[in-house]
């Protein structure tokens, strides 16, 4: 324990060296804007700016890239809330409630919640990282295909069991997402499947961002246009010191969900191959299931913004853990960081902690500082961000459409995906019109491939015996939790109905 304190102290001192501190500041700022641009996520940001880091020592370099990574996580929320398009895949869940809040003229409150939740998520996870990195790495190793699949089932359960929504419609939406996730190459045999109309482009599968931008950018915009006939009241928000203090005082409302989301996000982040996007979606689902007012989710509940934001920041810290301790990246962004480390002459793996404590603890120290810097920057920039909403709707809408096109084309570099996005956007609009929830479809396309792979790996290794999921303690626990999560809302519904009829007769 004392050891950790000494090492952390040294790490913090290192983070405060002028060069490193500057790196943190510049990294956070750059990340914030990269994250806020649709189509440019932390992956691109880190890849593009990797060469910059060859000018400075390795520790300063990783600090810069890590700061960029956090900054982008915060930044993703900005366009999710103000424009209604996810700035990065990790910020999709933030749209669910962030967008409605902005439409209600509470953009500043949503942005504050996102910043504060991100800060809490980041800080909780870096504390967990500091205290438990080596044992957690050992725990992550216990996660085989069976455990991964059980965790995916748990994630789906949080979405099926959503209290307010129509359960059959939710299941339909999940299935639709799963069908789309299955398009492309078969994970195990490598054969192409479900190539509709023989479009060769479909072999690559339907990109998750293509779906998310289509549904939220195009679909929502069409929906708003139809509802308002373009006659939208401008949601200008005046951001003053007084409103800022008021917004901060709301923290207590979303503190529990934030704490839960942080722990969950960190944990999911540490598992190789999962990453921040599933973490944020799961956190949203859990927050909704256990909320006192699940019906208000998706309509502008501040907890619905805080939960995914806490989780995606926590996961970004969490995904550093397998990278540093095992040399296996937990997310696409950390894969690039890993490449950087090899060039700097560092070999991530079980020995890095003992071989290069200066590097590891410098990085951990910088995570603490980066969190403070990003939250401060973010809160300071809120007045600037909300200015976007002051634009007349007739100007803002075309800009959003353009950003959707650019965002999709920038990520995949194919016009086919742009047309696909328009088509999916139209589909999303129809689903919305027919009152189908679209969020479960988005969840399914993210988690579908992960779930399929782990399911098939498990069944190959057990030679077809499904009991394998119930024989291993961790997987059994997840499965039981999933079952409980599915039953809980139904039970709640029955109880409510009884209470309703009781008061009706009484």
């Amino acid at each position: 324990m004392l050891d950790i304190a000494t090492l952390l102290g040294a790490g913090l001192l290192q983070a405060f060296e002028p060069l490193n501190l500057m790196m943190i500041f510049v990294g956070c700022l750059a990340g914030l804007f990269i994250g806020a641009m649709p189509g440019l996520g932390s992956v691109n940001g880190v890849a593009i700016l990797l060469p910059v880091t060859f000018l400075v020592p390795p520790t300063a370099a990783i600090i810069f890239l890590a700061a960029l990574y956090y900054g982008a996580m915060y930044g993703g929320a900005v366009s999710s809330i103000t424009l209604g398009i996810p700035g990065a895949s990790t910020a999709v869940a933030t749209v669910f409630d962030g967008r409605p809040m902005a439409q209600q003229g509470k953009a500043d409150q949503a942005l504050t919640a996102a910043a504060v939740a991100s800060f809490i998520g980041g800080t909780i996870s870096v504390v967990l990282f500091t205290l438990f990195a080596p044992p957690l790495a050992v725990f992550a190793l216990k996660f085989g295909p069976q455990e991964e699949f059980a965790l995916m089932v748990l994630a789906f359960a949080t979405f099926i069991g959503l209290g307010g929504d129509d359960i059959p419609k939710t299941i339909f939406s999940i299935l639709l997402g799963l069908v789309m996730a299955a398009v492309g190459f078969d994970i195990i045999s490598g054969q192409p499947r479900m190539i509709f109309f023989d479009f060769v482009e479909l072999q690559r599968g339907i990109g998750f961002l293509v779906l998310a931008i289509g549904i939220y950018g195009i679909g929502e915009m069409l929906w708003t246009l139809e509802n308002t006939k373009g006659d939208v009241r401008i949601h200008a928000v005046t951001s003053t010191w007084k409103s800022f203090k008021k917004n901060l005082s709301h923290v207590r409302e979303y503190l529990p969900t934030t704490a839960l989301g942080s722990a969950l996000g960190f944990f999911v982040g540490t598992l190789p191959a999962a990453g921040a996007t599933p973490a944020s979606l799961m956190s949203y689902g859990l927050a909704k299931t256990f909320a006192r007012d699940p019906d208000s989710f998706g309509k502008g509940n501040v907890s619905g913004v805080a939960a995914p934001e806490a989780a995606n920041n926590a996961a970004s810290t969490g995904s550093m853990l397998p990278m540093i301790t095992l040399g296996i990246p937990g997310s696409p962004t950390t894969a690039i960081l890993l490449g950087g480390m090899i060039i700097w002459g560092l070999r991530p793996g079980p020995l890095l902690f003992t071989d290069r404590p200066d590097f590891v603890w410098g990085l951990i120290g910088s995570m603490y500082v980066a969190n403070f810097v990003t939250v401060a920057l973010n809160l300071a920039l809120i007045p600037l961000f909300v200015r976007v909403l002051a634009m007349p709707f007739t100007i803002l809408t075309p800009i959003i459409f353009i950003l959707c096109f650019v965002g999709v084309f920038a990520t995949t570099d194919r016009m086919f995906d742009v047309w696909l996005m328009l088509l999916l956007g139209l589909g999303g609009y129809l689903m919305r019109k027919l009152n189908y929830p679209v969020a479960p479809a988005v969840l399914a396309i993210v988690l579908g491939p992960l779930a399929e792979r782990s399911l098939r790996q498990s069944l190959i290794s057990s030679r077809g015996d499904v009991m394998t999921f119930f024989e291993r303690p961790i997987s059994l626990t997840c499965m039981l939790l999933a079952l409980a999560l599915m039953i809980y809302p139904i039970w709640l519904g029955i109880r409510r109905r009884r209470a309703g009829s009781a008061s009706g007769t009484g």
Partner: protein, 327 residues
């Protein structure tokens, strides 16, 4: 208005400077550096190291962006390259699935001998790995006994049906007359992690994928499938020494899509030659057990690919495509 002016001014500046760059071919936009395997694996580590060296040494006016396309044992990447025919801004880091995947998946419609060869960076090697806790397994004989004892409960992890490690696994099954359960994972890094986490019993990882765990004492190599013992593993016998006729390598070459322009080929060939000759790359070759004696390029690499395709066709016919895909 002011923004518009700045924008137009910079567009003009680009237009003016472009003809100068044409004198000697240079990329005009970021180069997609496709990796036909998942993150953390051998191909991925090498591609990311090369990308970093390109940036560090300022070898390209535009950045190389590594993109993993592991789907369908590299089929996704091969198809992508095929569709990029004639493109001068896409190159791919390949491995042996470059040969095996089009053979096994006939309807993929990809002929790799039509791709543009750029440079053979290295020949990678394979070793047989088990967890250090398997104290009952000390050499190849005890390994074979353990596998035969376990039967289909013996799980071998790999990177996908039709990938080179599944070919090697099938070769071992034929040589030792046993059968195992082969579980595919998305990349050599994940395979390594699952061996250390004891989700699988053995694997034929490349050295770079297991090195960190080997050094920390979590995994041990039993056999190397090379002609001679590697400098990095002097105490590990080769299969040939033990009387088993298996020698298998993994090529690590960079290739462009079909129909790349000659100017671009020259640029990329020079670039990868510079990387190949760099001290950093040669050091990496030694520490990670790669063989790097001179970079094959152009027609030499093309004929190398052609002979490898034939060799793999024979190999697959020998062990049977079914043994590899597990059908």
């Amino acid at each position: 208005m002011k923004y518009l002016k700045t924008l137009m001014a910079s567009a003009l500046a680009v237009a003016v400077s472009a003809p100068v760059a044409l004198a000697e071919w240079q990329p005009r936009k970021p180069v997609e550096f496709i990796i036909m395997a998942g993150t953390g694996g051998g191909a991925d580590q090498i591609a990311r190291l090369l990308q970093g060296l390109i940036e560090q040494k300022g070898l390209s006016s535009r950045p190389f962006i590594p993109i993993n396309k592991p789907g369908g044992s590299g089929a996704e990447a091969l198809r992508y390259m095929q569709d990029k025919a004639g493109d001068d801004h896409t190159v791919m880091m390949t491995l042996n699935s470059f040969y095996t995947t089009p053979i096994i998946q006939e309807d993929l419609g990809v002929d790799v001998t039509k791709f543009t060869p750029i440079g053979l960076m290295a020949m990678d090697t394979f070793l047989l790995w088990v967890h250090t806790d398997r104290e009952d397994i000390t050499d190849l004989d005890s390994y074979v006994d353990a596998v035969k004892g376990a039967g289909l409960d013996w799980k071998v992890g790999g990177t996908g049906s039709g990938q080179e490690d599944s070919v090697l696994t099938a070769m071992m099954e034929a040589a030792f007359d046993y059968e195992v359960t082969y579980i595919p994972f998305p990349g050599g890094g994940t395979v390594a992690k699952n061996l250390i986490g004891k989700q699988i019993d053995s694997t034929v990882n490349n050295p770079s994928e297991q090195l960190a765990f080997y050094e920390s004492g979590d995994s041990k190599p039993l056999v190397q499938f090379t002609g001679e013992r590697m400098a990095a593993f002097p105490d590990v016998p080769t299969a040939r020494e033990l009387g088993v006729d298996i020698e298998y390598y993994m090529q690590r070459s960079v290739n462009g899509p079909p129909g790349m322009s000659p100017e671009a080929v020259e640029f990329y060939t020079n670039l990868f030659q510079t990387l190949f000759d760099s001290a950093e790359w040669q050091e990496f070759c030694v520490s990670d057990g790669l063989t790097c004696d001179g970079m094959l390029n152009g027609a030499d690499l093309a004929s190398f690919h052609a002979s490898q395709v034939e060799a793999h066709k024979k190999l697959i016919a020998q062990v049977g495509a079914g043994a590899i895909t597990g059908e």
